[in-house]
Amino acid sequence: MRLWRNLVRRALLAALFFIPNSVAADIAAAYNRITGNLTVSGLDRDELDLIGAQPDRLRLQVVDSEAKGSMLLTLSRRAEGLTIKPRFALRPGTKYLLRVDLPDGSMRAQVNLPGSDENIPRLERFYPSQAIIPANTLRMYLQFSEPMARGHLLNSVTLLSRDGIEVEKPFLSLETELWDASQTRATLLFDPGRLKEAVGPNVKAGTPLRAGESYRLVVSEQMQSAEGVPLGENVEMSFRVGPDEHGKIAPAAWQVMTPQAGSSAVLSVAFDRIIHRFAALRHLSLHDENGARVKGQADSDGGGWTFSPFMPWPEGTFVLRIAPALEDVSGNTIGHPFDAPEGTIGSADKATTIRVEIKPQ
């Protein structure tokens, strides 16, 4: 149905430079999608003079707006009629009402802008993607297929325990939602007061996630894309919860599987715990003996890190550099754990390195 509508829209767009689509009969307004202007016809010279003297007689509004004023615009007279240049571009898929109040009554024209391509958004993935995550996990990420609308995130997600009981306010309510620039990836931050050991909310309400339990994170069917298209169906993600992770990240415990020289095989690292996937992608880098960064494609699922070189591996010593900002999913770093005993935080952190020897067969 939606596909059919889109096809019709596209056909209309292709066929028409001007789109005359006024609903009321008395005046007509045509939208020029190249300039973004509206051209109004059906006004005589006296009426145009009157509007020129009293521009407040003309109002352009979103249909159903109850506000008194018009949207900001500039008017000009041309041979073909009155031209309206909106200060802010008219939005695709929106219906506008043009109203001109004259002494003998008001004249109206409705302008329906065609929508842009509306794709139904999908929730593609969530992170951490492991089947069992620590009870003190700090954040979860939702990856959507389309840019999503801001402002509805916390109302759209529900965390349910195994028996279907809703976990009360598990996520931090911030004034600003945390999205990436494309607004396809949302960050859900568990309330830090619920995660830190021995902090009031933790003691009173407990950690939002309890070890040994299973949970479902439900994203509402009503969550909308930036184009206003809802998900259409509730999406559920199930995961189990293991014990808290309170220790520092221990790169010494990582297992490195090295490829042979001359091959283009993947270098892979297995972590000692679930590392924050996006931090791993940013904070791990492979360098040659001279310190130059090796070119290739890195990937991580949080459980490990893989690196495919663009050129076959030469024989030699490489260095896997781990920036101090690397965090696991519970906020522990190499320098210190998230909940640090008093007096242990404050030492300057340095990058940690792991030597990788690439040997011939």
């Binding site: 949207m71 929106t94 004034e175 620039a181 830090p192 007061g193 830190k196 021995a198 009173k204 640090a340």
Partner: protein, 408 residues
């Protein structure tokens, strides 16, 4: 006339096109936290671009001293706008739900209110600054003021661009100006560290952003990291001090002298505003009735509170260490609850009035721009009190005998 329109004769058409094509400042990618310096510089947090912009608004501000803000003697505030979001939506030509009002700030010398607004909720939302001019809304033309910017977010380097565009962003939660510097707090979507950026203004050519990690002692035997949500700077006992409120609402005091580049500073935790709550704004004000200096803190899930600065200065650090019992709720430095809920943004207009964007007490769907008389941030009309009842002959404070306010 709230919205300006003009009919331009045909002869002037070419000029009109040239003017209107320069109507927007193109480098404002988003508009969040707002602040003014002591003069006319407006700071705008632009999380999407990862920068703070500074606009010199000299010549772009209009004196508002003739606009009546209410009648403080009878505890009456003024509703400047009902359905503020709908009014803005009408100007911008979008449905009301596509307007996001992100912050509010007052230019104190002129008492003019400025709002940061997004037109749309998608990644292509347009950022707009709106001024309130004698009860009317105006879009500020940001191509007029001279502008400078400083980077505060993750800066993509040649290397990070080569190895993939980073997805991390800093959501700027607060900007404060104090004596030639701005202090920028933010929450990362990927990292948990609490970094406070201290930046000299005017901005220098170099990106000289200081990153300061703040560690604070929390209850019992742990110290930990959390993002600062809102902050202000005040002199406590003559010493400039940052008063910051964290996500899980500890109140922390940090002398500015401790905030050095690269330093890992331990703030002194002096209070706790209670769990299940996020602070919104912390704004300094002077209580004109007794001359005391205070800060007002607004919250998402608790009513607002006032803290006296002498008490903040004198407050003992909250006990921590082994054997200390946990704090469940409000504790530490004394907090005076204020009858303010549903407040989304707050700033002070002058020594008598504050201005808020709030959900109307009788209809939460109505988002109001409303003034509140200080020092109690209390509007008599919001509450059911005997002094409002017309059938009650008592009038101990003379409110009923006061003539009705006729606003200009």
């Amino acid at each position: 006339m709230p919205h300006s329109k003009s009919l331009i004769p045909t002869t002037a058409l070419a000029l009109a096109t040239a003017l209107s094509s320069a109507a927007h400042a193109t480098d404002l990618k988003s508009a969040g936290a707002l602040a003014f310096d002591d003069a006319n510089t407006l700071f705008v947090g632009d999380a999407k671009a990862g920068v703070v912009h500074a606009f010199d608004m000299t010549g772009s501000v209009t004196d508002q001293s003739a606009y009546q803000l209410g009648r403080a003697q009878t505890f009456e505030g003024r509703t400047i706008f009902n359905n503020l979001d709908a009014e803005i939506a009408a100007m911008l030509g979008v449905p009301t739900e596509d307007v996001m009002i992100n912050d509010l700030v007052v230019h104190k010398p002129s008492k003019q209110i400025f709002l940061s607004v997004h037109r749309g909720r998608g990644p292509d939302a347009e950022a707009v600054i709106i001024a309130v001019n004698n009860g009317a809304l105006e879009v500020v033309d940001l191509t007029e003021p001279s502008q400078s910017s400083i980077s505060v977010g993750p800066v993509p380097t040649a290397e990070t661009l080569e190895f993939g565009q980073p997805l991390n962003q800093l959501a700027i939660t607060d900007i404060d100006y104090y004596k030639g510097e701005i202090f920028v707090a933010g929450v990362s979507n990927e990292e948990f560290s609490s970094k406070l950026r201290r930046i000299p203004f005017p901005f220098t050519d170099q990106v000289s952003t200081s990153s300061i990690e703040i560690w604070h002692a929390v209850h019992a035997q742990y110290e930990t990291r959390a993002p600062i949500i809102t902050q202000t700077i005040a002199e406590l006992g003559g010493e400039p001090t940052l008063i910051a409120i964290y996500a899980c609402t500890p109140i922390v005091r940090i002398p500015l002298a401790d905030l050095k580049d690269g330093a890992e500073v331990r703030g002194t935790m002096i209070g706790e505003m209670g769990f299940g709550n996020t602070p919104l704004d912390i704004v300094p004000y002077v209580n004109a009735w007794d001359g005391t200096s205070n800060v007002v803190v607004t919250n998402t899930n608790r009513s607002a509170a006032s803290l006296n600065l002498e008490a903040v200065s004198a407050a003992a650090p909250m006990p921590h260490g082994e054997g200390v019992k946990n704090v469940f709720s409000v504790a530490g430095v004394q907090q005076f609850p204020l009858p303010m809920s549903g407040v989304m943004h707050l700033d002070t207009l002058d020594e008598t009035y504050a201005v808020v964007i709030r959900r109307a007490p009788e209809d939460p769907r109505n988002i109001q721009l409303h003034t509140l008389p200080m020092p109690f941030f209390f509007d008599r009309a919001d509450h059911i009190v005997e002094m409002n009842w017309t059938t009650d002959p008592r009038d101990p404070f003379g409110y009923k005998s006061a003539p009705p306010i006729e606003y200009n």
